[in-house]
Point group: C2
Chain length 187, copies 2
Protein backbone atom coordinates (compact mmCIF):
# COMPACT_ATOMS: atom_id res chain seq x y z
CA UNK A 1 0.00 0.00 0.00
CA UNK A 2 2.70 2.50 0.95
CA UNK A 3 4.40 2.17 -2.43
CA UNK A 4 1.26 3.23 -4.33
CA UNK A 5 0.57 5.88 -1.70
CA UNK A 6 4.05 7.29 -2.05
CA UNK A 7 4.53 7.01 -5.78
CA UNK A 8 1.01 6.83 -7.24
CA UNK A 9 -0.48 4.41 -9.70
CA UNK A 10 1.52 5.51 -12.73
CA UNK A 11 4.74 5.87 -10.77
CA UNK A 12 4.61 2.28 -9.53
CA UNK A 13 5.39 -0.69 -11.75
CA UNK A 14 4.83 -4.40 -11.17
CA UNK A 15 8.64 -4.61 -10.89
CA UNK A 16 8.56 -2.05 -8.02
CA UNK A 17 5.82 -4.09 -6.33
CA UNK A 18 7.85 -7.26 -6.77
CA UNK A 19 10.87 -5.53 -5.20
CA UNK A 20 8.83 -4.18 -2.30
CA UNK A 21 7.17 -7.49 -1.51
CA UNK A 22 10.19 -9.67 -2.24
CA UNK A 23 8.00 -11.77 -4.51
CA UNK A 24 8.77 -12.72 -8.09
CA UNK A 25 6.42 -11.10 -10.59
CA UNK A 26 4.64 -14.36 -11.57
CA UNK A 27 3.97 -15.10 -7.89
CA UNK A 28 2.68 -11.57 -7.40
CA UNK A 29 0.25 -11.90 -10.31
CA UNK A 30 -0.89 -15.33 -9.08
CA UNK A 31 -1.42 -14.18 -5.48
CA UNK A 32 -2.75 -10.62 -5.85
CA UNK A 33 -3.70 -10.19 -9.52
CA UNK A 34 -2.60 -7.43 -11.88
CA UNK A 35 -1.54 -3.89 -11.00
CA UNK A 36 -5.09 -2.54 -11.14
CA UNK A 37 -6.25 -5.25 -8.77
CA UNK A 38 -3.39 -4.66 -6.33
CA UNK A 39 -4.10 -0.92 -6.42
CA UNK A 40 -7.76 -1.54 -5.58
CA UNK A 41 -6.69 -3.64 -2.61
CA UNK A 42 -4.34 -0.86 -1.49
CA UNK A 43 -7.25 1.61 -1.62
CA UNK A 44 -9.41 -0.75 0.44
CA UNK A 45 -6.66 -1.16 2.98
CA UNK A 46 -6.12 2.61 3.23
CA UNK A 47 -9.86 3.10 3.66
CA UNK A 48 -9.91 0.52 6.46
CA UNK A 49 -6.92 1.74 8.46
CA UNK A 50 -6.96 5.52 7.75
CA UNK A 51 -10.23 6.83 6.34
CA UNK A 52 -12.89 4.85 8.21
CA UNK A 53 -11.44 5.39 11.70
CA UNK A 54 -11.51 9.16 11.05
CA UNK A 55 -15.09 8.92 9.83
CA UNK A 56 -16.15 6.89 12.86
CA UNK A 57 -14.54 9.43 15.15
CA UNK A 58 -16.45 12.24 13.45
CA UNK A 59 -19.77 10.40 13.62
CA UNK A 60 -19.43 9.22 17.21
CA UNK A 61 -18.09 12.52 18.55
CA UNK A 62 -20.11 13.91 21.44
CA UNK A 63 -18.33 17.28 21.19
CA UNK A 64 -20.30 20.25 19.84
CA UNK A 65 -20.59 20.42 16.04
CA UNK A 66 -17.90 23.02 15.52
CA UNK A 67 -15.41 21.19 17.74
CA UNK A 68 -16.17 17.88 15.99
CA UNK A 69 -15.57 19.40 12.58
CA UNK A 70 -12.40 21.10 13.80
CA UNK A 71 -11.10 17.80 15.19
CA UNK A 72 -11.83 16.10 11.90
CA UNK A 73 -10.08 18.70 9.71
CA UNK A 74 -7.24 18.91 12.18
CA UNK A 75 -6.88 15.11 12.07
CA UNK A 76 -6.68 15.26 8.28
CA UNK A 77 -4.10 18.04 8.54
CA UNK A 78 -1.89 16.12 10.95
CA UNK A 79 -2.14 12.94 8.88
CA UNK A 80 -0.97 14.96 5.85
CA UNK A 81 1.78 16.92 7.56
CA UNK A 82 4.38 15.63 9.94
CA UNK A 83 3.05 12.15 10.52
CA UNK A 84 6.08 10.43 9.02
CA UNK A 85 3.75 8.73 6.54
CA UNK A 86 3.88 9.31 2.78
CA UNK A 87 2.81 12.81 1.85
CA UNK A 88 -0.87 13.50 1.76
CA UNK A 89 -3.98 11.42 1.67
CA UNK A 90 -3.82 8.38 -0.60
CA UNK A 91 -7.42 8.92 -1.70
CA UNK A 92 -6.84 12.57 -2.63
CA UNK A 93 -3.55 11.91 -4.36
CA UNK A 94 -5.13 9.14 -6.41
CA UNK A 95 -8.17 11.27 -7.22
CA UNK A 96 -5.95 13.94 -8.76
CA UNK A 97 -3.65 11.49 -10.53
CA UNK A 98 -4.88 12.14 -14.01
CA UNK A 99 -4.09 9.08 -16.01
CA UNK A 100 -5.91 6.66 -13.74
CA UNK A 101 -8.04 5.72 -16.69
CA UNK A 102 -9.35 2.43 -15.34
CA UNK A 103 -13.10 2.99 -14.84
CA UNK A 104 -13.23 0.64 -11.83
CA UNK A 105 -10.54 2.64 -10.02
CA UNK A 106 -12.22 5.95 -10.88
CA UNK A 107 -15.50 4.60 -9.55
CA UNK A 108 -13.83 3.37 -6.35
CA UNK A 109 -12.30 6.82 -5.79
CA UNK A 110 -15.65 8.54 -6.38
CA UNK A 111 -17.17 6.25 -3.72
CA UNK A 112 -14.39 6.98 -1.22
CA UNK A 113 -14.76 10.74 -1.72
CA UNK A 114 -18.54 10.55 -1.39
CA UNK A 115 -18.19 8.37 1.71
CA UNK A 116 -16.28 11.25 3.35
CA UNK A 117 -18.90 13.72 2.13
CA UNK A 118 -21.73 11.54 3.49
CA UNK A 119 -20.04 11.36 6.89
CA UNK A 120 -19.88 15.16 7.09
CA UNK A 121 -23.52 15.28 5.96
CA UNK A 122 -24.58 12.91 8.72
CA UNK A 123 -22.69 14.90 11.39
CA UNK A 124 -24.11 18.21 10.12
CA UNK A 125 -27.66 16.80 10.13
CA UNK A 126 -27.21 15.75 13.75
CA UNK A 127 -25.89 19.24 14.54
CA UNK A 128 -28.98 20.75 12.96
CA UNK A 129 -31.28 18.38 14.84
CA UNK A 130 -29.51 19.31 18.07
CA UNK A 131 -30.08 23.01 17.39
CA UNK A 132 -26.49 23.89 16.54
CA UNK A 133 -27.40 24.99 13.02
CA UNK A 134 -30.43 26.92 11.79
CA UNK A 135 -33.17 24.82 10.22
CA UNK A 136 -32.54 26.65 6.95
CA UNK A 137 -28.84 25.62 6.75
CA UNK A 138 -27.98 24.04 3.38
CA UNK A 139 -26.68 20.75 4.75
CA UNK A 140 -25.80 19.27 1.36
CA UNK A 141 -23.72 22.28 0.32
CA UNK A 142 -21.97 22.36 3.70
CA UNK A 143 -21.21 18.62 3.48
CA UNK A 144 -19.71 18.97 -0.01
CA UNK A 145 -17.73 21.96 1.19
CA UNK A 146 -16.27 20.16 4.23
CA UNK A 147 -15.47 17.08 2.16
CA UNK A 148 -13.46 19.35 -0.12
CA UNK A 149 -11.46 20.99 2.67
CA UNK A 150 -9.07 18.05 2.96
CA UNK A 151 -7.91 18.84 -0.59
CA UNK A 152 -7.64 22.55 0.25
CA UNK A 153 -5.40 21.68 3.20
CA UNK A 154 -3.53 19.11 1.11
CA UNK A 155 -2.59 21.45 -1.72
CA UNK A 156 -1.38 24.17 0.64
CA UNK A 157 0.61 21.63 2.67
CA UNK A 158 2.36 20.67 -0.55
CA UNK A 159 2.91 24.35 -1.27
CA UNK A 160 5.09 24.29 1.84
CA UNK A 161 2.94 26.10 4.40
CA UNK A 162 4.06 25.46 7.99
CA UNK A 163 1.73 23.69 10.40
CA UNK A 164 0.56 26.85 12.18
CA UNK A 165 -0.53 28.46 8.90
CA UNK A 166 -2.40 25.30 7.93
CA UNK A 167 -4.12 25.33 11.33
CA UNK A 168 -5.13 28.95 10.75
CA UNK A 169 -6.65 27.82 7.42
CA UNK A 170 -8.76 25.29 9.32
CA UNK A 171 -9.96 28.06 11.66
CA UNK A 172 -11.00 30.14 8.66
CA UNK A 173 -12.75 27.18 7.02
CA UNK A 174 -14.94 26.62 10.10
CA UNK A 175 -16.30 30.16 9.86
CA UNK A 176 -18.77 29.10 7.17
CA UNK A 177 -20.96 27.49 9.84
CA UNK A 178 -24.13 29.58 10.17
CA UNK A 179 -25.27 30.59 13.66
CA UNK A 180 -28.31 28.77 15.02
CA UNK A 181 -31.36 31.05 15.32
CA UNK A 182 -31.63 30.40 19.06
CA UNK A 183 -28.16 29.86 20.48
CA UNK A 184 -27.90 26.35 21.91
CA UNK A 185 -26.93 26.00 25.55
CA UNK A 186 -23.16 26.23 26.07
CA UNK A 187 -21.55 22.91 26.90
CA UNK B 1 1.11 20.69 -22.80
CA UNK B 2 -2.27 18.95 -23.05
CA UNK B 3 -0.69 15.51 -22.95
CA UNK B 4 0.98 16.16 -19.58
CA UNK B 5 -2.15 17.95 -18.38
CA UNK B 6 -4.33 15.01 -19.34
CA UNK B 7 -2.09 12.14 -18.33
CA UNK B 8 0.32 13.57 -15.75
CA UNK B 9 4.07 13.41 -15.60
CA UNK B 10 4.32 9.71 -14.81
CA UNK B 11 1.59 8.76 -17.27
CA UNK B 12 3.41 10.42 -20.18
CA UNK B 13 6.49 8.94 -21.81
CA UNK B 14 8.92 10.46 -24.29
CA UNK B 15 7.39 8.03 -26.81
CA UNK B 16 3.94 9.57 -26.14
CA UNK B 17 5.42 13.05 -26.60
CA UNK B 18 7.07 11.96 -29.84
CA UNK B 19 3.72 10.60 -31.08
CA UNK B 20 1.86 13.77 -30.07
CA UNK B 21 4.33 16.12 -31.71
CA UNK B 22 5.06 13.95 -34.73
CA UNK B 23 8.76 14.32 -33.97
CA UNK B 24 11.27 11.51 -33.66
CA UNK B 25 12.59 11.09 -30.11
CA UNK B 26 16.14 12.30 -30.92
CA UNK B 27 14.71 15.46 -32.52
CA UNK B 28 12.48 15.98 -29.48
CA UNK B 29 15.43 15.74 -27.10
CA UNK B 30 17.52 18.06 -29.28
CA UNK B 31 14.78 20.68 -29.61
CA UNK B 32 13.05 20.64 -26.20
CA UNK B 33 15.33 18.67 -23.86
CA UNK B 34 14.40 15.72 -21.65
CA UNK B 35 11.00 14.89 -20.19
CA UNK B 36 11.59 17.00 -17.07
CA UNK B 37 12.51 19.98 -19.21
CA UNK B 38 9.50 19.56 -21.49
CA UNK B 39 7.25 19.25 -18.42
CA UNK B 40 8.64 22.49 -17.00
CA UNK B 41 7.88 24.22 -20.30
CA UNK B 42 4.34 22.81 -20.21
CA UNK B 43 3.89 24.26 -16.69
CA UNK B 44 5.15 27.66 -17.89
CA UNK B 45 2.80 27.59 -20.83
CA UNK B 46 -0.18 26.66 -18.63
CA UNK B 47 0.73 29.44 -16.23
CA UNK B 48 0.87 31.92 -19.11
CA UNK B 49 -2.39 31.00 -20.85
CA UNK B 50 -4.55 29.79 -17.93
CA UNK B 51 -3.31 30.82 -14.48
CA UNK B 52 -1.99 34.34 -15.03
CA UNK B 53 -5.03 35.65 -16.92
CA UNK B 54 -7.23 34.51 -13.99
CA UNK B 55 -4.89 36.20 -11.53
CA UNK B 56 -4.87 39.42 -13.53
CA UNK B 57 -8.65 39.40 -13.64
CA UNK B 58 -8.82 38.98 -9.86
CA UNK B 59 -6.32 41.77 -9.23
CA UNK B 60 -7.79 44.24 -11.69
CA UNK B 61 -11.40 43.60 -10.73
CA UNK B 62 -13.30 46.72 -9.73
CA UNK B 63 -16.19 44.64 -8.34
CA UNK B 64 -16.66 44.49 -4.55
CA UNK B 65 -14.37 42.02 -2.76
CA UNK B 66 -16.94 39.29 -2.34
CA UNK B 67 -18.01 39.46 -5.99
CA UNK B 68 -14.36 39.44 -7.12
CA UNK B 69 -13.61 36.34 -5.08
CA UNK B 70 -16.78 34.65 -6.29
CA UNK B 71 -15.86 35.38 -9.91
CA UNK B 72 -12.42 33.95 -9.33
CA UNK B 73 -13.60 30.70 -7.70
CA UNK B 74 -16.37 30.41 -10.24
CA UNK B 75 -13.83 30.84 -13.04
CA UNK B 76 -11.74 28.05 -11.56
CA UNK B 77 -14.84 25.87 -11.27
CA UNK B 78 -15.85 26.41 -14.88
CA UNK B 79 -12.32 25.78 -16.12
CA UNK B 80 -12.37 22.48 -14.21
CA UNK B 81 -15.84 21.37 -15.19
CA UNK B 82 -17.41 21.43 -18.59
CA UNK B 83 -14.82 23.46 -20.44
CA UNK B 84 -13.94 20.66 -22.85
CA UNK B 85 -10.34 20.90 -21.63
CA UNK B 86 -8.55 18.08 -19.81
CA UNK B 87 -9.99 17.48 -16.35
CA UNK B 88 -8.94 19.83 -13.63
CA UNK B 89 -6.18 22.33 -13.18
CA UNK B 90 -2.80 21.26 -14.48
CA UNK B 91 -1.06 22.90 -11.51
CA UNK B 92 -3.27 21.12 -8.95
CA UNK B 93 -3.09 17.76 -10.68
CA UNK B 94 0.68 17.98 -10.84
CA UNK B 95 0.91 19.12 -7.21
CA UNK B 96 -0.91 15.99 -6.07
CA UNK B 97 0.92 13.67 -8.44
CA UNK B 98 3.02 11.92 -5.85
CA UNK B 99 6.04 10.64 -7.63
CA UNK B 100 7.09 13.95 -9.12
CA UNK B 101 10.36 13.57 -7.32
CA UNK B 102 12.38 16.05 -9.37
CA UNK B 103 13.19 18.90 -6.96
CA UNK B 104 13.09 21.53 -9.71
CA UNK B 105 9.53 20.52 -10.66
CA UNK B 106 8.43 20.45 -7.02
CA UNK B 107 9.87 23.92 -6.53
CA UNK B 108 8.15 25.20 -9.66
CA UNK B 109 4.81 23.85 -8.40
CA UNK B 110 5.32 25.43 -4.97
CA UNK B 111 5.91 28.77 -6.71
CA UNK B 112 2.80 28.44 -8.87
CA UNK B 113 0.64 27.59 -5.84
CA UNK B 114 2.09 30.49 -3.84
CA UNK B 115 1.61 32.83 -6.80
CA UNK B 116 -2.14 32.07 -6.61
CA UNK B 117 -2.07 32.55 -2.82
CA UNK B 118 -0.25 35.88 -3.19
CA UNK B 119 -2.82 37.10 -5.69
CA UNK B 120 -5.65 36.38 -3.24
CA UNK B 121 -3.60 38.08 -0.53
CA UNK B 122 -3.19 41.21 -2.64
CA UNK B 123 -6.92 41.35 -3.46
CA UNK B 124 -7.88 40.79 0.20
CA UNK B 125 -5.50 43.55 1.34
CA UNK B 126 -7.11 45.95 -1.10
CA UNK B 127 -10.54 44.90 0.22
CA UNK B 128 -9.39 45.65 3.75
CA UNK B 129 -7.96 49.02 2.70
CA UNK B 130 -11.26 49.83 0.99
CA UNK B 131 -13.18 49.04 4.17
CA UNK B 132 -14.72 45.76 2.98
CA UNK B 133 -13.00 43.74 5.71
CA UNK B 134 -12.39 44.61 9.36
CA UNK B 135 -8.89 45.82 10.19
CA UNK B 136 -8.46 42.74 12.38
CA UNK B 137 -9.09 40.26 9.51
CA UNK B 138 -6.33 37.65 9.26
CA UNK B 139 -5.41 38.35 5.65
CA UNK B 140 -2.69 35.68 5.46
CA UNK B 141 -4.98 32.92 6.72
CA UNK B 142 -7.76 34.04 4.38
CA UNK B 143 -5.35 34.11 1.42
CA UNK B 144 -4.11 30.58 2.16
CA UNK B 145 -7.69 29.45 2.55
CA UNK B 146 -8.86 30.91 -0.78
CA UNK B 147 -5.81 29.53 -2.57
CA UNK B 148 -6.82 26.10 -1.27
CA UNK B 149 -10.42 26.32 -2.46
CA UNK B 150 -9.52 25.46 -6.05
CA UNK B 151 -8.41 22.04 -4.77
CA UNK B 152 -11.58 21.68 -2.71
CA UNK B 153 -13.65 22.35 -5.83
CA UNK B 154 -11.37 20.12 -7.89
CA UNK B 155 -11.67 17.05 -5.71
CA UNK B 156 -15.45 17.31 -5.48
CA UNK B 157 -15.70 17.84 -9.25
CA UNK B 158 -13.79 14.59 -9.68
CA UNK B 159 -16.14 12.98 -7.18
CA UNK B 160 -18.83 13.63 -9.77
CA UNK B 161 -20.77 16.54 -8.24
CA UNK B 162 -22.93 18.37 -10.79
CA UNK B 163 -22.22 22.01 -11.59
CA UNK B 164 -25.01 23.43 -9.40
CA UNK B 165 -23.70 21.60 -6.32
CA UNK B 166 -20.18 22.85 -7.02
CA UNK B 167 -21.57 26.39 -7.32
CA UNK B 168 -23.32 25.96 -3.97
CA UNK B 169 -19.92 24.94 -2.51
CA UNK B 170 -18.47 28.22 -3.77
CA UNK B 171 -21.32 30.12 -2.07
CA UNK B 172 -20.54 28.33 1.20
CA UNK B 173 -16.80 29.00 0.86
CA UNK B 174 -17.38 32.78 0.55
CA UNK B 175 -19.15 32.84 3.93
CA UNK B 176 -15.80 32.89 5.74
CA UNK B 177 -15.42 36.58 4.87
CA UNK B 178 -15.78 38.59 8.07
CA UNK B 179 -18.11 41.58 8.07
CA UNK B 180 -16.46 44.99 8.08
CA UNK B 181 -17.00 46.87 11.37
CA UNK B 182 -18.66 49.78 9.59
CA UNK B 183 -20.51 48.45 6.57
CA UNK B 184 -19.13 49.98 3.41
CA UNK B 185 -21.52 51.81 1.14
CA UNK B 186 -23.48 49.42 -1.08
CA UNK B 187 -22.37 49.46 -4.71
Amino acid sequence: MELFWDRGYDGTSMADLADATGMAKPGLYATFGDKEHIFQQALCRYDEVMARPMIEELLSSSAPLRASLRASLSGILHSIKGSGLPMGCFILNSTFECSNDEPAIKQHLVELNLQRRNAFRQRLLRGRDEGELPGTADIDALANYFAGQSAAIGVMARAGLPLDELEAMVDVALNVLPEAETPSAPR
